[in-house]
Amino acid sequence: MLDRELRCYGITELLSPYLDGQVSEDERRQVEEHLPRCARCGRELQELRVTVQALRDLPVIAMPRSFALAAQPRTLPTFFPYLRNATFALAAMVLTMFVASLYVQMTSVSSMPQPKDAVAVQQVESFSAVASPTSRELEKLDAQPALPAPALAPGPMSAAPRAPSGAPAPSAAAKQPQDEANNEVQKAPDTAETGTALVPQRATTAGGGVSEKVPSSGDGDEKSAPPANSAQQAPPQWPLLEIEIGAFILLLILGGATLAVFWKERRGT
């Protein structure tokens, strides 16, 4: 009896692998010799078989979702957010600069009738030089020399030191052209108000002005005067434009890089 129990003990250990065919030839023979003689072990094997069958019959659980890795954000390089943000920031900057420069140009045009006329004129001139000059402005520029030129005749640039003493004369002379200019304005009302209004005024101050500019603008050679002033006046505008262009090119490069990185990852996934 004890011997039989011991034998069963050895056999029950083998029943599970026996069921799977995972026993050696020797073990298999042991089990198969034992089973017909031992009802208990036979029943145990049968129950084991049922258990395994019940486990196999367990349903496959449906997944709540797919576990495929949702790629793009995860595999984008870590610097991508910086690149993207930099692009947006630069875009905002370029836009702001563009709007700001537009605004500056608009306001400088509208503020031209103010006494800062000489500056204003130069701004208009440099503006018209930067932007394509409109026919209106060209007209104005052509008209300009004709009016003040005769009156503001006297000295060339070298006359600068004389300026204070020579001032009264040109100012007296300038009144004539101013009248003429006013007449001119009335004659040609279709030209831009700001532009045309400005020209005579400039002539006035240029003629009657006390500043160092008087001699140069009082100079008969109108053509030499504007370039001299525009050389002084242009710098504030030109670098700005250069920065704008530079920023825009940088924006193109950054934006291109951002899109390239993004697109590559999109394609890659």
Binding site: P17, E44, T51, A54, L55, R56, F67, A68
Partner: protein, 212 residues
Amino acid sequence: MAKPAECAASGNLISIEEDALIAASRKGELQAFNSLVLRYQGIVYNLAYRMLNDGETAADVAQDTFMSALKGINGFRGGSFKAWILRITSNACYDRLRQRQRHPTSSLDALVDDVESPTEFADPDAGPEEIALRRELMAHIRDGLLCLPAEQRLAVVLSDVQGLSYEEIAQVANCSLGTVKSRLARGRARMRDHLMRRGELLPSRYRHDVEG
């Protein structure tokens, strides 16, 4: 357990294709890796579900498994990818089980909540009574699995629920074939005892087997 010849041939084809996918995944091609995910997500999720008995946690484990598999794909040194991915899964399951032991309250909710939908195993000509019976049997088997020590549960689930070979189980559990045999034998014996305690739940064909 031996597969028919044609099955083995298609298995070879699958493994060749799989090697290519693994190689591509190593180069960082997510699409290739996701093909592997699609191939194994069912078995990974089901193992996690059977180990943890909670769909929500099992889904987390499955997601974690694939994420760490992607990270560690270069550490995969050939052999069975299935065994490798299931090993990651089983380790993640062990971690969760340890967490549960530390905070035992959360697992009780899962036990109550998570009743398998009867549609999953309904067969068309089963009456409502039979469906109810089956459902109860499923719950009973599930409880039995939960009572097993984790290592035995892993062996039983891999072998009997998912049909892995002893060799594969040894790779997953990182143990010897002898250990697999004994864990499986003990786990099955426990399951048998548990099941026979409510033998009336067993379908008639099972009972016939037992009586016969």
